[in-house]
C-alpha cells in the first residue's frame, strides 16, 4: 500500500538518498545541515515573540508586586505550591463560570517565572485574591483540614514561626528589574523596610509602602501576629493579590448585569 501511495515521490527519495550519502561524507556540509535543521526549530519557537506587542493586551493600571508579595511568591515557589495549583483560568466556559474571567497574558507580565501550571490537584488560584479572609488563609495553611475537611493539602504551620528573611529583597528586586519589571531605584533601595512595613500597619515603615506602591496596597497583619513579620505574612500577602495586579481581565469580561 505504502509503495503505491509513495510512488509519485520516488524521485524525491532517490534525490534524498543521493544527497544524504554525499553530505555524510563532507563533515562541513553535515555540520551546516545540522545547524540549518536546528535553526528551523529555534525559529519556530522564537518567531511568535516578534508579534508579542500584537498578542499581549495592554494594561495601563498594572501594578507591581510589593517586596512582601514578591517574597511570598518566592515562598510559593519554594514550597512547590505550583505542583498542585495552577494560576491560569483557561478559555473554557466551565472555568469562567467557576473561577471568573479567563486569564490574560498581561496579568503575568511581571511573573518571573510564570506559574500558570497545568496540574490541578487543588483549585486554580489565579483569582484567589480577596476571595477569603487573611485569617482563613492562615488557618488553612496551618491545618487545611480544620477548614476544609476533605482537603489533601499538606500543612504549612511552620511558616507562622519562621521569620521572613528580607535582607536579600533589594537584590531580588534588582534581578527582576534586569528581566523587565520596572522597579525604581527607590523601591529597590527600600525593599527590605517596605517588606516589613507592609505587615506592620502601626509602624512608620508602613507609610513608605503606600507611598511607593499606591494607596490601595493591602497593609495589614496578614498572619494576625503584631510583632513579627513571618513567612506566613508574605505568603498570605501574595495569595491576597493574586488576580489583583490589574483589572484588565474584568474590564474585558464584565460580570453579567443581572
Amino acid at each position: 500500500m505504502f509503495r503505491k501511495i509513495l510512488s509519485p515521490f520516488a524521485r524525491l527519495f532517490e534525490f534524498h538518498a543521493r544527497t544524504h550519502y554525499r553530505t555524510e561524507r563532507h563533515s562541513m556540509a553535515l555540520t551546516l545541515g545540522i545547524i540549518v535543521a536546528a535553526g528551523v526549530g529555534g525559529f519556530v519557537e522564537i518567531a511568535p515573540l516578534f508579534t508579542i506587542d500584537e498578542t499581549v493586551e495592554a494594561a495601563p493600571d498594572m501594578r507591581l508586586y510589593t517586596p512582601l508579595e514578591q517574597a511570598g511568591r518566592d515562598i510559593y515557589i519554594r514550597e512547590g505550591c505550583y505542583a498542585c495549583h495552577s494560576q491560569m483560568i483557561r478559555t473554557l466556559q466551565d472555568e469562567v463560570d467557576r473561577y471568573g474571567p479567563y486569564s490574560l497574558a498581561v496579568e503575568s507580565q511581571y511573573d518571573h517565572p510564570m506559574l500558570w501550571g497545568s496540574k490541578r490537584t487543588g483549585p486554580d488560584l489565579a483569582r484567589l485574591g480577596n476571595k477569603y479572609s487573611d485569617d482563613w488563609h492562615v488557618r488553612h495553611l496551618v491545618d487545611p483540614r480544620a477548614v476544609v475537611p476533605e482537603s489533601v493539602m499538606p500543612q504549612y504551620a511552620f511558616l507562622l514561626d519562621t521569620t521572613l528573611e528580607t535582607e536579600s529583597l533589594p537584590d531580588r528586586l534588582a534581578a527582576l528589574r534586569v528581566v523587565g519589571v520596572p522597579y525604581s531605584d527607590e523601591q529597590i533601595a527600600n525593599a527590605d523596610v517596605d517588606a516589613r512595613g507592609q505587615a506592620r500597619p502601626d509602624t512608620d515603615a508602613a507609610d513608605g509602602v503606600s507611598e511607593r506602591y499606591g494607596d490601595t496596597t493591602g497593609i495589614r497583619q496578614f498572619d494576625g501576629q503584631r510583632d513579627r513579620v513571618t513567612e506566613m505574612d508574605a505568603l498570605v500577602a501574595y495569595l491576597q493579590i493574586l488576580g489583583g495586579l490589574t483589572d484588565a481581565a474584568f474590564e474585558n469580561q464584565p460580570l453579567g448585569e443581572d
Partner: protein, 292 residues
C-alpha cells in the same frame, strides 16, 4: 570502493565501508516512515491555511476559519447566560419573597445554590453551613447584622471589614492588650458575660455585680445595656449562647484581651445580583431548618 555495489542477500546497496570482510548496508529509510512524514507535512499545510499560525512583522496569519479561543469562550459564556437568563432575570428582578412563592424558580434555586455555596461560602462557613471557630453558623437564629432578606443581600454584596468601599465595619476592641482592662477585670467581665448567656460561671453574686459594672462601662455601648447586641453595629448578642469564637473561659479571655475583627469577603465583583439572591434564599432556607 564502488558505491553501486549491492549486497547479494538483501539487494540493498552497501556504503562501501568494509571491516574484515563485513560490509555496511546503506538501507533506505523505510517507506512507512516516509508515509507518515508526508502525511504530517500535508496536515501542517492544511492547518497553516485554516488556523492562526504564522507570525508576520506586527501581526499574524489569522487562518481561513478565523478561530479565536477568547471569542469562542465569550460566545459560550454569553450563550449559557442567555439560557440561564430565562429564570435568572426573573430572580434578579423579583424580591426574595416572590421567588420563594414561585415553585418553578425555587427549583432553579435548589439546583444552583448548593454549588454556588460550596464553591464560594463553604470554605469558611463549612459545607453544612454550621460555621466554626471564627466563622458564624448560618443555620442558627443568631445574626450579627440582621437576618432579614435586605440585610443578608447587602452583607453578601459589600462584605464585613472587607476591602469593598461600602463594606460593613465592626471591631471588637482589644481591651486587655490596649490597657483598658487588666487581666483580673477581664476574668470578672468574662464571668458576667457567661452569666448573661445562662452559663454557670461559678462566680459569686458580688463578682457578678462587679462584672456588671465593668460591662456597663466598657461593653454596653456596642453590645447594649442588657448584652443583647446591636445589629446596626454588628455587635453580637451575648445572651443567646451562640458563640463565634467560643464561650469558654479561655476563648472569652482571648476575645476580650486581644479583640476580634472578622472578615467576610465582598461578593459584588465576583457574583451577579441573581447569584447573590440565590445564595440569600439558600442561606435563609438553612436557617429555617431547611435542607442539610
Amino acid at each position: 570502493m564502488s558505491v553501486k555495489e549491492r549486497d547479494p542477500l538483501t539487494g540493498h546497496q552497501t556504503t562501501g565501508h568494509e571491516w574484515n570482510g563485513i560490509t555496511e548496508l546503506n538501507t533506505r529509510v523505510p517507506r512507512a516512515v516516509w508515509f507518515f512524514i508526508i502525511v504530517t507535512h500535508i496536515w501542517a499545510l492544511v492547518y497553516w491555511v485554516l488556523m492562526p499560525a504564522w507570525p508576520l512583522v506586527n501581526t499574524y496569519t489569522r487562518g481561513l476559519l478565523g478561530i479565536d479561543q477568547q471569542e469562542q469562550v465569550e460566545e459560550r459564556v454569553a450563550a449559557a447566560d442567555a439560557t440561564r437568563g430565562i429564570w435568572a432575570d426573573q430572580i434578579a428582578a423579583l424580591p426574595l419573597d416572590k421567588i420563594r412563592d414561585d415553585t418553578l424558580l425555587m427549583a432553579h434555586v435548589e439546583r444552583t445554590a448548593p454549588a454556588l455555596f460550596g464553591d464560594n461560602c463553604a470554605a469558611c462557613h463549612g459545607s453544612r453551613a454550621k460555621g466554626g471557630p471564627g466563622y458564624p453558623s448560618l443555620v442558627d437564629d443568631a445574626w450579627l447584622w440582621g437576618g432579614d432578606d435586605e440585610t443578608i443581600l447587602e452583607t453578601l454584596r459589600v462584605g464585613i471589614n472587607s476591602p469593598h468601599p461600602d463594606t460593613r465595619y465592626a471591631e471588637m476592641l482589644a481591651f486587655g492588650r490596649d490597657g483598658m482592662l487588666d487581666r483580673d477585670q477581664i476574668r470578672v467581665v468574662a464571668d458576667y458575660v457567661q452569666s448573661l448567656a445562662g452559663l454557670d460561671s461559678g462566680a459569686s453574686p458580688e463578682r457578678l455585680e462587679e462584672g456588671a459594672a465593668l460591662f456597663a462601662d466598657n461593653c454596653s455601648s456596642c453590645h447594649g445595656e442588657d448584652g443583647a447586641g446591636m445589629q446596626d453595629l454588628g455587635a453580637p448578642n451575648l445572651t443567646d449562647n451562640y458563640w463565634i469564637y467560643g464561650g469558654s473561659d479561655e476563648a472569652l479571655f482571648e476575645t476580650i484581651y486581644g479583640g476580634r475583627q472578622g472578615w467576610m469577603p465582598a461578593w459584588e465583583n465576583r457574583l451577579t445580583g441573581a447569584q447573590r439572591k440565590l445564595l440569600a434564599i439558600y442561606i435563609t432556607s438553612l436557617a429555617d431548618g431547611g435542607p442539610q
